[in-house]
Amino acid sequence: MAGFALRRVAGLVLVLLTVCAATFAIFYLLPSDPALQACGKSCTTERIAELHRQMGLDKPVWQQFADYLGGIVGGRTIGTGDLAVRCGFPCFGFSYQADRPVWDLMVDRLPTTASIAAGAAVLWLVIGLSVGIGSALRKGSGLDRSLMAATLTAASLPVFFTGLMALYLVVQVAGLLPFPTYVDFGDDPLGWARNLILPWIVLALLYAAMYARLSRSSMIETLSEPYIRTARAKGLPERVVVIKHGLRSALTPIVTVFGMDLGTLLGGAIITESVFGLPGIGQLTIDAINKSDQPVVMGVALLAAFFITLFTVLVDLLYAVVDPRVRVS
């Protein structure tokens, strides 16, 4: 078990390093120049060269990359002269536009994104799995058909469309809820939930539909396995057959997908945040891209990759605990 965990964590580090290198390559080899932006409109060639030197952009690419990696592990001072800034551990670069380390910017935004993701995840798991399993158990019935039609509809609705509809119908016409703003959970738990309920529902709707379809087909497949027939033949109560024998193995593919989805969302629920104007990591990304604030975009990309790979590995480890066969392969 320890060996397996170690291999998986080594794999995680390798993936992150590669993502890091790829991100670095995208932002530093493509035609765009952070110095040019820092310099402003009335910029001379000498000033640019000076800025390049101060920002460390005149060094070879591999040296810059090594510096960047070193910063993540131990913090660093970026640049020299009047542009020198201290960027503490873990240093994901420095945003000259916001005049703050990228890590601080991300930490500020993380609670919003985590709140959106966590609340929505609870909703979609509960709704998606109940619909999917219910449908599978009544396969072919009228209930199954109408539920599946509903999930097909929900899965075809993009978040930015349902979001606008929700805002129009619930906030504007019915006046049931306020326009969402982010309230910190610690300050006002009720206000937190009241403001986030709409984004949660909108985001969960799409995912619940996908999870319902996935869990239905997975459950149907599992229930047709010979060992389920054996369990029934033993005379086990249907509840035990479905929950203990069926559900447990039908959930496997769903847990995998869930790990990926949650990881992806933690890296920024970009569309949801954008529709509801919530100041999460996704908004930070969009703002940074509009302002060409490359260090921030790069930091966010890495953070998102970290969450995705982390959750994938966590899921793998979870399987290894549950199912010893996984450790060997």
């Binding site: 035609p31 609705l157 606008l164 504007q172 970009i270 891209i289 990309a301």
Partner: protein
């Protein structure tokens, strides 16, 4: 991590007879509805200039007489300014004809999603077959690359790539970026199938008969892969439509004045309280297209593997 399209797990022995497949899809009522909607939007896209000519409204013609400037620019009249001249109303602020913009937007959506699907399927098939058939270091290299691409936060990277790359006509750029993140899904399916096909008797026979490996790949293995590839392609079209719309919505899709549905929805965000028609129309187009392609894809999957459907 495994993304298998249900029903593509076991290769069907002979090349699926496509005429029978088409008949089975056609027998599915939902598929016929999907096909009708797809046909409608394809026609709208193809004949967008003709529709513009008939109604007399180009997609970029401003109609400032149709908006209420004193109120900041909402369309004059009910339901977003629907009238005999402007069947779906006009845009706020500049009064452009919504019908013209929606039909031209259909072009963007369909062209990008279909091309992206085509490119990712071709790349995924070639690399997946190579990985599955040759094994060894070829397989290791291709499989690791696929894993890596899949562990990238796709939307962020798409946004980053598109925004850093030079502007101009973004259609090709969007196709390439969407396919870049799409091919590993096809690649995995194709690799798995090729792996099991390679050990089948008819492939062994071809190999024993001294056929060149290229010929084996193209003549023996590829025909058996067509059904799962077709299913995957059909189901990835709606996903790509959604991705294109999302990128446009975030302001990094095709650039104005070229219209696209996602871009219209983005503009509609500022107007949803006063002019809900402006988000309802492009939103509904998007919804219907995605739904229609999904219905078709589902029907195709069930036709390839009848045991899956309800």
């Amino acid at each position: 991590m495994t993304t298998t399209i249900a029903g593509a797990a076991e290769p069907t022995a002979p090349a699926a007879p496509f005429r029978a497949l088409a008949a089975r899809v056609w027998a599915d009522r939902a598929a016929r509805v999907g096909l009708a909607i797809v046909a409608l939007f394809v026609l709208l896209a193809v004949f967008a200039p003709l529709i513009s000519m008939l109604t007399g409204n180009g997609p970029n013609e401003f109609n400032e007489d149709l908006i209420d400037k004193s109120l900041g620019g909402p369309p004059i009249g009910v339901l977003g300014g629907i009238s005999a001249d402007h069947w779906l109303g006009v845009e706020p602020v500049n009064g452009r004809d919504v019908l013209a913009r929606v039909t031209y937007g259909a072009r963007v959506s369909l062209v990008i999603s279909l091309l992206a699907t085509g490119v990712s399927v071709v790349i995924g098939t070639v690399l997946g077959m190579a990985a599955g058939y040759f094994g060894g270091w070829v397989d290791a290299a291709i499989s690791r690359t696929m894993d890596l691409v899949l562990s990238f936060p796709q939307l962020i990277f798409m946004i980053a790539l598109v925004s850093v790359l030079p502007g101009g006509d973004r259609t090709l750029l969007l196709v390439l970026v969407i396919s870049f993140f799409g091919w590993p899904y096809v690649g995995r399916i194709v690799r798995g199938q090729t792996l099991s096909l390679r050990r089948r008797e008819f492939v062994e026979a071809a190999r024993a008969g001294g056929q060149h490996r290229m010929r084996i790949l193209v003549r023996e293995i590829l025909p058996n892969l067509l059904a799962p590839i077709l299913v995957y392609a059909a189901l990835s079209i709606p996903v790509n439509i959604g991705t294109e719309a999302a990128l446009s919505f975030l302001g990094i899709g095709v650039q104005p004045p070229t219209p696209s549905w996602g871009q219209m929805l983005q503009k509609a965000m500022a107007w949803y309280q006063i002019d809900p028609m402006f988000f309802l129309i492009p939103g509904t187009c998007l919804f219907l297209t995605v739904l229609a392609f999904t219905l078709l894809g589902d029907a195709l999957r069930d036709a390839v593997d009848p045991k899956e459907g309800a």
